[in-house]
Symmetry: C2
Subunit: 415 residues, 2 copies
Amino acid sequence: MTKKRVVIIGGGFAGIHVARRIKNKELEVLLLDKKNHHLFQPLLYQVASAALSPADIAFPLREIFKHYPHTTVLMGEVTKIDKEARKVYLSDAEFSYDYLVVATGATHSYFGNKTWEQYAPGLKTLADALSIRENILVSFEKAERLGDSEEAKKYLNFVVIGGGPTGVEMAGAIAEIAYSTLLKNFRNIQPEKAQVFLLEAAPRILPPYPPALSARAQKDLEKMGVKVLVNTKVVDVVQEGVKTDSSFISAHNIIWAAGNQASALLKALNTPLDRQGRVVVEKDLSLPEHPEVFVIGDAACVMNKKGVPLPAVATAAIQQGSYIGKILNKQIPKEKRKPFKYFDKGSLATIGRAKAVGFIKGFKFAGFFAWIIWAFIHIVYLVGFKNRYAVLLQWYFHYVNGVRGARLIHRSIDP
Amino acid sequence: MTKKRVVIIGGGFAGIHVARRIKNKELEVLLLDKKNHHLFQPLLYQVASAALSPADIAFPLREIFKHYPHTTVLMGEVTKIDKEARKVYLSDAEFSYDYLVVATGATHSYFGNKTWEQYAPGLKTLADALSIRENILVSFEKAERLGDSEEAKKYLNFVVIGGGPTGVEMAGAIAEIAYSTLLKNFRNIQPEKAQVFLLEAAPRILPPYPPALSARAQKDLEKMGVKVLVNTKVVDVVQEGVKTDSSFISAHNIIWAAGNQASALLKALNTPLDRQGRVVVEKDLSLPEHPEVFVIGDAACVMNKKGVPLPAVATAAIQQGSYIGKILNKQIPKEKRKPFKYFDKGSLATIGRAKAVGFIKGFKFAGFFAWIIWAFIHIVYLVGFKNRYAVLLQWYFHYVNGVRGARLIHRSIDP
């Protein structure tokens, strides 16, 4: 008997949860990813802010599936998909499939302004996080060398664009670095001279949250020293700083946390996409007329009961992955598949050390209690025992004495 | 009263131990380093072999000296030293000194063959270690994609050049990765097909160790699958592999652990250097006719009682740093300085998980017991409480189940 082959593109939350569910020996699984690791993206801002090391939140895909002998992991970028021939292509290889799961995630969207990316990097990969980390640390070092000059000030201005959870977490973390972690570390500059701006085009930060929590988050951020500018639209990003509809902010450090767009590979599926480039899927997350092809996670536009697309969060991706994994494991034909149902587990965002806001099923909470729940959930979902301990250890030291242990600069700061 | 200024170039073992000893309020200390962190070099091979993360063995210099208000840390590369004017220069600044301590360490020496470096990187900085780690991991990924072809084999050949402690540790670690860590991780290749070569020009590895320990280390390495080739001189290193005086070994991964040379900045001191470019210092580690200038650590050629230069090891650098720190703290004039005396604490080298060899004051030991001593000493000397716990945790998981937690590839492996 020849086995049927499931090809999964993408080893994020959605992709690994499909593969984990497949234990049927009539199937073989091929998991393809551009990277060799699964990344726990919700904690990526902690790498960018020097609190965690890359290996704390990334786990080799091969290690996750080493006890799944029917599952093969290959590192490589899919360049083409042929739905009719049922094949996917790498630069030097092709694989036919019986079932295809596309879980390629999303990347930053600069809303058509491609030149902005070089000055305002986003935060999606470990390489992004390391480069943001290095820029932040280098800026403080340069400011220390420049002393009290005007130029030094520019290095101490930080702008985060986008007031969603990533923007809020990043702005809070930079404020902690500037006003607390580094307080005793410098002699020529007072780190308090640093200014951290959080820009949001909407009338409040964390727009999908209840207004009371948005207000609480803004108040907490302001207490930490962040200048929160709502109703502020970015009109240009240049090397020297950010131009908004009301002013110009000089800054060497600009971080983009404003927009998402789905991976470009999805165009190869030749099927309707939404405004963010996500595939519009059927109720069973398959493609119209292709019940053997599924698109899940941030790559898919999945509507909730109210006809609103699900948020691009890990819980949605995990649930979709498990749902497809079960369908494939039993090889359920399309007509017998129950529609995917999203179970909303609520939302949580950290603001700083021991501060968070969240809401679950109508209950709102904030402060230390919210942070404890946040920390617990993130530890539980982190892949790998070792990583859990490692992250807990780092958090313990961070919580107790504000240490950010991963403050490493690899490049030279000399011209 | 104007304070006298001590300028220390280099934040390695030697440099930080000078600064730590200076508590005299009549002195101010300026510590200059190209990097922002102190690096625990004895464990660098564990970063290169994916067992530890960079932040586990590196500690921000600013953090080490945050409670030393008279000490300023500046990140920057010294480009010039003027002994007569008593000044050091960065690209954009100059600093005068009353005392100068040069502790700039060493870099790789390719014995005049500059083209070898691009194919056989050495292991001195975190960037070196990360690049070696990435090359090793990428090779296994490429071999998996290439399957059983001839080309796949080349990716599975590893050559370590130099049978000193670094070479022995690196060869042992790669063998562990190939034959144990990755055993269950691949489907298309058998990692056992990997070949690890350790090349040494001398008749035995670990030449400064007693012959019995060299033999033991070689036996242990061979048991782990390493092909140890002694009496083997490298005559050329090219992109395709290593040419020795007896054969050609095809390999994509070549690691240089063979030679040291002192930092090029030392030439600026305009004083006699030895064959490795180290400064020949007086008995108090100062320069002839310049009792206010000291050179210590791997940058200095310091003779022991028998007229043999001290080895380039951390204990020698630490002892020299403390010795100079005391002299400066009390501002002892040259004629009253007691000559530096090296206290030999013995030597230790790890071979693999729970295996090491060492000798202390004529006592030789090997195996698990040597490894426990090795682990204990390295934890004690590691700077920073947090790092100690983090490293112990990683070692625990590594020891218990062979995990190498930092197996991250950041770059794409596609053309």
